[in-house]
């Protein structure tokens, strides 16, 4: 089965996934930069206590999942989001979603992603991609970083969906509820709330390792 879905390349994975998933209900009005803005995606953190690949943790974006959730909340779209402890249940749920015609966003680890070049493979578990259908037993993958779509078999997809380490995705799956309508008025309101959130994150956030003080 294949769901009608248009792949668009983006600069960043989560804002790209958000704008691609919302493309149908917004009619293309939610572009990637707009999703990044409404979701208040900009952030800076320097946390020497957490080690990632033997170095201090440095982040330039918010926690995984925040951009999508904030964008949908500001636009008034209900979000369905699930994590799993069982690999079988995770795959069954993914198949059910695809069967219902919903393309879904998945949080994955990049280390075992087959189409990534070797130089980019680190144990980084906050990458996002969209599964938009099945072809025989292969899953159709739209990774917003890549210019074309890819396919992965169920073993490969299971491995990256259940990658381990910091921020383990645990098969995290998310998608906006079917049939939501986005009007210009809601976008206006959402932009305002995005600016407010960004202001709080950058200037009011109290910790010294985050926001502009970092």
């Amino acid at each position: 089965m294949k769901i009608e879905f248009e792949h668009h390349q983006a600069a960043h994975c989560e804002s790209g996934v958000t704008s691609n998933l919302l493309r149908n209900s917004s009619g293309g009005k939610i572009t990637e930069p707009l999703a990044f803005g409404i979701g208040a995606g900009l952030f800076f953190a320097y946390i020497p206590l957490i080690k990632i690949n033997n170095g201090p943790a440095i982040a330039f974006r918010t926690m995984p999942g925040y951009i999508f959730n904030r964008t949908c909340k500001s636009l008034g779209i209900p979000v369905i989001s699930k994590k799993f402890s069982s690999k079988e249940k995770a795959e069954a749920y993914l198949k059910e979603c695809l069967h219902n015609g919903d393309p879904v966003g998945c949080q994955v680890g990049v280390y075992y992603l087959p189409y990534f070049p070797k130089e980019y493979r680190f144990h980084f578990n906050a990458h996002n991609l969209i599964v938009y259908g099945m072809d025989d037993d292969k899953y159709l993958i739209s990774d917003p970083i890549m210019d074309t779509t890819h396919v992965m078999d169920s073993c490969q997809l299971e491995r990256v969906r259940f990658a381990k380490g910091a921020l383990a995705p645990k098969g995290h799956i998310y998608y906006p509820k079917h049939g939501a309508v986005i009007t210009d008025e809601t976008i206006k309101q959402a932009i305002k709330s995005g600016i407010k959130k960004m202001f709080i994150i950058c200037l009011v956030f109290p910790a010294v390792s985050r926001g502009y003080r970092a």
């Binding site: 080690k51 690949n53 070049p117 070797k118 130089e119 970083i145 210019d147």
Partner: protein, 135 residues
């Protein structure tokens, strides 16, 4: 940044796909532009990988001198620390640290070795003989 100034230094990702970035066009409006890589990013990755290569070489020497078990080599090779490996195998971290000693590693059962091999995505024989197949 102007659209014409978007860096086009061929990177390893650039061979597979171009990256989207946002730059200003002639009228000053932001538009999406494609970049095939940036020297600064390439250098940063090269430095990071240079460090990793050194760690892998040091680990290999330790294993060959029988100071550590092959586990150490594959942990460095797969960039895993004991926490990540514990997640993949289901062992406790203290067990993994114990298995880093050659004596403890040699006593591992086939079942336990298989768990490690699966986590590293290699065969059990390769784990014992530290053979690396490029993938």
């Amino acid at each position: 940044m102007k659209k014409d100034d978007v860096p086009q230094d061929l990177s390893s990702l650039g061979k597979i796909t171009q990256e989207v970035c946002y730059a200003t066009d002639s009228s000053g409006k932001y538009v999406a532009a494609l970049s095939s890589g940036w020297d600064v990013k390439i250098n940063a990755l090269d430095v990071a990988w240079g460090d990793i290569e050194k760690r892998i070489a040091a680990a290999k020497e330790k294993v060959l001198n029988k100071e550590a078990s092959p586990l150490l080599f594959f942990m460095e090779y797969r960039l895993m620390d004991s926490k990540i490996l514990a997640g993949y195998t289901g062992f406790w971290q203290w067990q993994i640290k114990r298995h880093l000693k050659p004596e403890a590693f040699n006593k591992l059962t086939d079942k336990q070795l298989k768990k490690y091999a699966e986590a590293f995505n290699i065969k059990v024989e390769d784990l014992k003989s530290i053979t690396v197949h490029e993938d």
